[in-house]
Amino acid sequence: MADLGVGICGIKLRNPFILSSGVLGIARELMERVGEAGAGAVVTKSIGREERTGYKNPTLVELEHGILNAMGLPNPGVDNFRDELSEISVPIIGSVIAEPGCEEVAGKLEPNVKAIELNLSCPHVKGAGADISREMPIAVDLIKSIKGKVALPLLVKLGFNSSLELGKKSLDAGADAIVAMNTIRAMAINIEMRKPVLSNKLGGYSGPAVKPIGVGMVYELYQIAGDKTIIGCGGITNWRDAIEYMMAGASAVQIGSGIFYRGIEIFKELGDGVEKFLDDEGFRDIGEIVGLAHE
């Protein structure tokens, strides 16, 4: 049977299927449960220095081919959140909101997490995430300040709007991996109500609809990443999707909306499906398929 274990920036994971940020990773017991369900690792909700309530409802709406959300990065603030992270048996990656002072947040998370993920790409919060990534020099500074503060591997999460150039600059600035991608800026209007549905109006689009966009982004990043790691994210709901991302160049993948489409059991489904594919096609180690579509 093929080996699903992967090493991501030096962290050993039993499999490459990671819970993505903002999905369930706010409550200790839920993260534990996702670990028990088979995830290789879990990314926390993006955490900031201060407590944030986020936007008012509606913060999420199901669409025909995906999901649209603008939660507004609600989070208890790092001081309240630290407690949620004690003694979880699945490896935890701490997601940090890209804002001034985020290196301190990373520092406070450090004892309880295996890596830091810098969310450079939330597409609907002013002054954080994607807004910052337009300012390339600021992004580079944040990366450097986190690398200066914590000894953990640093993943930088980009949006589709981030240019390849930002990916390259992030890696040059010391990021160990790129996560591609976050949700895509989008909107849903209910025509009877004559209004955008989300209270924030614009939101981030995820789920099956965005998969080909994420695969393309991973493919392009892989070509410029050298020996750095790419982690794929966006629209993964079954094992074929996971393999597609890995063939495009992802060493691991993150799953968010898939939890809605397939339930928390998705981690087991991914593991079973990928393992069978590898066996059928004669691969011994999942690493063999990473980047295969470039050959």
Binding site: V23, A27, L60, V61, M71, V197, F260
Partner: protein, 251 residues
């Protein structure tokens, strides 16, 4: 999968002080199961979870005024539109068991579509008692036992106490209401129970984690539970930011 749609209010029924029922036609709701909830959106006000109190060709919600969105819902008139997504969540399943319902006030809403044998419903006083609903349930051959804290209608006392008192006669207890009530029942009942919980809901579909309780999601693993670890239940909830706070505080 359930996309958001707009439905027109067909009927608005005043139930008792601060409580109304709104009825509407909606295909997905017509196929819902008792205990499921919907997310109701009022542009400019917000979106909140509400149980379906009627399920069928005409479905309905029964709402108590507590804050901004519920206040705006009480102001609607027939012909106005509301946004709706769902139904979401799991549901009661009572089969042919002889079932006792225990409701605290507006907690009666998710119990209304059930074929109960008996309903205990408690409120503070008579003006909070949804009399029309009680009559309607009685006409569906449900024995209704109202109880008020001040004795102004039916017996005097608490629904949980009365429920426990008579529970021996039933196969199953279903309950909805303030968490103290549910916690009390759960702790003291030696009987199968299904109770409907409330937590702050944002996504409603099991993604955001804001409704987490003891490793379960009220929206997707609930809202109906039959057993829970007793770490957060009855004690803690999560605020809008996801912080764990004692149950008495505001969300």
């Amino acid at each position: 999968m359930s996309e958001l749609r707009a439905v027109k209010i067909k009927d608005k029924i005043g139930e008792c002080s601060d409580v109304i029922t709104l009825k509407f036609h909606d295909a997905p709701c017509s196929k819902a199961k008792p205990g499921q909830f919907v997310m109701i959106w009022l542009p400019d006000y917000g979106e909140i979870p509400l149980s379906l109190s009627y399920i069928g060709r005409e479905s309905g919600i029964t709402v108590k005024r507590v804050g901004n969105v519920t206040r705006a819902l009480l102001d609607l008139e027939g012909g106005d539109k509301i946004g709706i997504r769902g139904p979401y969540g799991n549901h009661f399943s009572i089969g042919s068991q002889k079932t006792l319902g225990v409701a605290g006030g507006i907690g009666v809403a998710p119990l209304m579509p059930l074929e109960l044998d008996t309903l205990v419903i408690g409120t503070k006083s008579k003006d909070e008692m949804p009399l029309r609903i009680l009559r309607e349930m009685e006409s569906n051959e449900i024995r209704v036992m109202p109880i008020t804290e001040d004795g102004s209608y039916g017996k005097e006392g608490l629904a949980s106490g009365l429920g426990l008192e008579i529970s021996d006669d039933f196969d199953l207890v279903v309950a909805c209401g303030p968490e103290e009530l549910l916690y009390h029942l759960y702790q003291n009942l030696n009987k199968k129970i299904q109770f409907s919980l409330e937590r702050l809901m944002k996504c409603g579909i099991g993604l955001c984690g804001s409704c987490a309780i003891d490793g379960r999601r009220v929206c997707a693993d609930g809202p109906i539970f039959t057993d829970l670890e007793l770490k957060e239940f009855g004690r803690f909830k999560r605020s809008g930011s996801g912080k764990l706070i004692p149950l008495k505080e505001r969300f």
